[in-house]
């Protein structure tokens, strides 16, 4: 209050309330009157600017929020796509596939190759060679019918993984000795 009085605001408003200051232009103006008017205009401008920037900040924060949500959805979509591609890649690995007279059988794993590959992957050096392919993932082959067996092919978990995407596809497991097939699934969990 004291401050506004010092600036000369209070006497001006008091005069207007008391009727001594009616219409500004009919009264002789002092330097204080002009100061007050300028101050009011300045406050108005500042207030408009504050509101303007507030609205911009609000708009921007809303925009960034929407962008963030979209980005996280896109990230999720990319991860899922990567997981599917990765599973498809494993399903066609020459280290696992069935070949009959030089013709590759789709989504079929040779049980002898599977055993050999699983054994070879226990060698840390070879497991490192395959890191570029498998990355941080868990690859399991599960025989479902007629017998039930689970073989873990590869496992390397990502410490502090933020997401793990499981993908399962049906496969055939061929026993080349007997030339018989079993039903199974390939389970792949990709860590990200």
């Amino acid at each position: 209050m004291a401050k506004s009085h010092k600036l000369g605001l209070r006497p001006y408003f008091l005069r207007r309330i008391r009727g001594t200051a009616t219409a500004g232009r009919h009264l002789p103006r002092s330097g204080q009157d002009y100061n007050r008017k300028a101050q009011i205009q300045m406050f108005e401008t500042v207030a408009v600017l504050v509101i303007f920037f507030f609205l911009i900040a609000f708009g921007l924060s809303f925009y960034f929020l929407v962008s963030k949500t979209q980005a996280s959805k896109e990230y999720e979509r990319t991860l899922q796509l990567r997981s599917i591609t990765f599973t498809q890649k494993i399903a066609t690995l020459p280290e696992l596939d069935c070949v009959r007279v030089t013709v590759q059988v789709e989504r079929c794993f040779d049980s002898l190759k599977t055993d050999a590959f699983r054994h070879i992957l226990q060698n840390p050096g070879i497991k490192d060679d395959y890191f570029a392919l498998f990355g941080y993932s868990n690859v399991t082959i599960q025989e479902i019918f007629p017998s039930v067996h689970t073989y873990q092919l590869y496992d390397r978990a990502l410490p502090n993984a933020s997401a793990s995407i499981p993908t399962t596809i049906p496969i055939l497991l061929r026993n080349p000795h007997k030339n018989t097939y079993s039903f199974g699934v390939l389970r792949v969990t990709l860590y990200a």
Binding site: K113, A116, P176, H177
Partner: protein
């Protein structure tokens, strides 16, 4: 009165000054924001394109013998490997490693028509799928005086959608003068000492490369032009099978070919170990053939591939295994060798 008029005189310019400063600040803020958004958007587009290309390549890599034409934006795609075999493809500021995909391509390709072709690498069992990435603006001229059966076979395998032309007979003599405006040109010879002649030919700004293939010795001599326009080479490499030979036809940089070969060798070594163990585990055979020899051959192949030094030894094991497999197939042996 004098004081008040002075104050009034000052107020108007000060107001304008304030408006100018505030307006300028607002404009600068918006301009900076738009600039930032624009660069972010460009990055995002490049990132999406690189991801799309990676996905396309990964999916194509799971199928063998497929060729597809891809409509792609007219962006420059830079593909290459460093001498320490860090292989990347880049669009704008965004780069991605090849990963497990083995990509054979020119150093720079541009949309809108990309061609992606996958071919299996048989050595003599399928060890990998190789990807060939090119575009319609890159012209390949295969120059041979006569079409021998191996060359004919090569031409029949390569899909028509690649811009490959065959110059044979008298046409082979004038093929050197062909140019590809707004694109690359690659000359492929099946005899020695041909690419060297280009050192004396005026090539202007033509983006040129040349390859000499020796089908007998399984060697490849790469010639290419550096940024200064000097023709470098020959950079000699070897190939094992039809798959990597076709890869070499489309690969401009010997470094990229060498890095792909190294990755192939490592994969071959590991795969041969899988087959070696598989053959060793075969307990019964329907044809009375022993799998022990095969297991030994697989082991030798794995050892040689791990060394990756002697191509002729690798070719020898390749040939032995190929003959063994044919014999197993002929006798209808179960299980198959591979």
């Amino acid at each position: 009165m004098v004081a008040s008029s002075k104050s009034g005189q000052l107020e108007v310019p000060l107001n304008w000054l304030f408006i100018l400063i505030a307006g300028g600040a607002i404009l600068i803020t918006f301009f900076a924001f738009i600039q930032r958004q624009q660069s972010a958007s460009e990055l995002s587009i490049a990132e999406n394109l690189v991801s799309d290309l990676e996905s396309i390549a990964s999916v194509a890599g799971t199928a063998k013998g497929t060729a597809q034409q891809i409509d792609f934006p007219e962006e420059d795609i830079t593909i290459g490997c460093t001498p320490d075999c860090s292989c990347l493809f880049s669009i704008g500021a965004i780069s991605k490693p090849f990963g497990t995909n083995l990509i054979y391509s020119p150093n720079l390709i541009r949309g809108p028509n990309l061609v992606l072709y996958s071919i299996d690498w048989n050595v003599p069992f399928r060890a990998n799928n190789l990807l060939i990435l090119t575009n319609s603006r890159t012209r390949y001229i295969l120059i041979t005086p006569t079409l021998t059966p191996p060359i004919n076979r090569l031409i029949s395998i390569i899909p028509n959608m690649t811009n490959l032309r065959v110059a044979k007979g008298p046409e082979a003599q004038t093929a050197k003068n062909q140019r590809q405006p707004e694109g690359k040109i690659r000359f492929i010879y099946f005899s020695q000492g041909q690419c060297d002649d280009f050192r004396g030919i005026e090539l202007d700004e033509q983006d040129f490369s040349c390859l000499e293939v020796d089908l007998e010795k399984h060697t490849l001599d790469f010639y290419y032009r550096n940024r200064a326009g000097t023709i470098l080479g020959p950079d000699r490499q070897t190939y094992l099978s039809e798959g990597d030979l076709i890869g070499a036809l489309f690969t401009e940089s010997p470094d990229q070919y060498r890095c792909n070969s190294q990755a192939e060798m490592l994969r071959l070594a590991n795969l041969a170990s899988v087959y070696q163990r598989r053959a060793a585990n075969v307990t019964t055979s329907t044809c009375g053939k022993s799998y022990t020899d095969a297991a030994t051959q697989f082991e030798r192949l794995a050892t040689e591939a791990r060394k990756a030094e002697n191509a002729s030894k690798l070719l020898l094991h390749y040939s032995i295994l190929s003959n063994l497999s044919e014999e197993f197939i002929r006798l209808s042996c179960k299980p198959e060798l591979f």
